[in-house]
Amino acid sequence: MSRRYDSRTTIFSPEGRIHQVEYAIEAINHAGTVIAINSKNGIFILAEAKRPSALIADKVDNEKIYKLSGCMVGCVAGITADANILINYARNQVQNHLQAFNEPAPVEKIVRQVANVKQNYTQYGGLRPFGVSIVYAAFSREGGFKLYHSDPSGNYASWKSICIGANSSSIIGTLKEKWTPDIDLTGAKNLAFEAYCKPCDVQSISSKNFETMVLTLDSDDKPLFQALGTDEVENLLKENNPIKAS
């Protein structure tokens, strides 16, 4: 099945595919899930941080959700080491823009710049692509609340709600069914947990595994980033888990 066309990124297969990029996307499907939902009054992000060992210290570092600027957050799924490079690059680009223009960087610009870096690794140098998908959540005066997603090929698009990582295709199915344009933040929180729990094995779900982020506006109409407290996460889990654990 064209195995001789898949060891280098810099060649197409006869079917017109770049196998290395597809394998990178496949790697992401084994990583922790990230669900992001855009609503009328904010964005809710639910990320599953896979703890590979019980000995790992809790809540030392963020693993999935990273602040990129005062108005923007990036959530990663895939190879964490690759993600660190890209997040660092994105943060640098945000500051470069601030230094040149004295105003916050527009999301689209940062998304495009990171996506261009990813694309570079699919065309030049013979190096493997980044095994990272990134979901960007941002607020801007001109565009309101926006969600963007970019994958290892360097393609990106704006989304109403998106899921990346493990079980993403079935979760996206749920989101497609249940998301409406007039959903509010509470509805978004419930929808995220519901969509997450559906394909999951109930035993392995524990509130300690989640990183959450709520993006809203504060009383001065400035973007405000908050994580959910453990109690609220517990409640949302209990209400939306279809299989009641005995």
Binding site: A100, F101, N102, E103, P106, E108, K109, E142
Partner: protein, 213 residues
């Protein structure tokens, strides 16, 4: 020997520059326009070293257009001024500094009309009115006396005429024509050139031509 004037009104910026292009003691061109359009609602007046003004102005204008192409929207006045200042400051400590003094006037929907004053060392301030050149010694006093916030276009033009008259009265160099433009919500409008109002020469009493008989 050049003079640039900028006045911020209620929802517009009035900008004027003298129209003499000179080298040493010679006035090469008497209808030279020193204002450059950066975008639909952004105007930059530049004075200073001959080639530097045009070179820098065009460089900034094209980069601002490039930003618009890439990102789909125009830069705000503040962002464009900051970008310009960043370039001036970066080039200052290189082997090719630009010796230009600038006034940037623009209109955007979020902040209204804004005027920024920048000098060749890369310092920048937002001002209600600004002047570059020797003319500033005379014009700033006139502005301090007659400027008020939220002027109408007619009031601003009257104030500008006062400034030009004062320059004509006291500045040793003859700047007898100014190009005038207004930036507002609708864009950049070219106004008529302004000249100093000529006063009839006074008859000095006691001197009459004497016929030699």
């Amino acid at each position: 020997m050049e003079c640039l004037i900028g006045i911020r009104g209620k929802d517009f910026v009035l900008m004027a520059g003298d129209s003499v292009a000179g080298r040493s003691v010679v006035a090469m061109k008497k209808d030279h326009d020193k204002m450059y359009q950066l975008s639909n609602r952004l105007l930059m007046a530049a004075c200073g070293e001959g080639g530097d003004t045009v070179q820098f102005a065009e460089y900034i204008a094209k980069n601002i257009q490039l930003y618009r192409m890439r990102n789909g929207y125009d830069l705000s006045t503040k962002a464009a001024a900051s970008f310009t200042r960043r370039n001036l400051a970066d080039y200052l400590r290189s082997s090719t500094p630009y010796f230009v003094n600038l006034l940037i006037g623009g209109y955007d929907d979020s902040d209204g009309a804004d005027l920024y004053y920048m000098d060749y060392l890369g310092s920048m301030v937002k001002l209600p009115f600004g002047v570059h050149g020797y003319g500033s010694f005379f014009v700033l006093s006139v502005m301090d006396r007659y400027y008020k916030e939220d002027m109408t276009r007619d009031e601003a033009l009257v104030l500008l005429q006062r400034c030009i008259d004062e320059i004509h009265e006291r500045f040793i160099i003859n700047l007898n024509s100014f190009k005038v433009k207004i930036v507002d919500k609708e864009g950049i409008h070219v106004m008529k050139d302004l000249r100093p109002t000529t006063k009839p020469p006074e008859e000095t009493p006691g001197t009459q031509s004497m016929d030699i008989v």
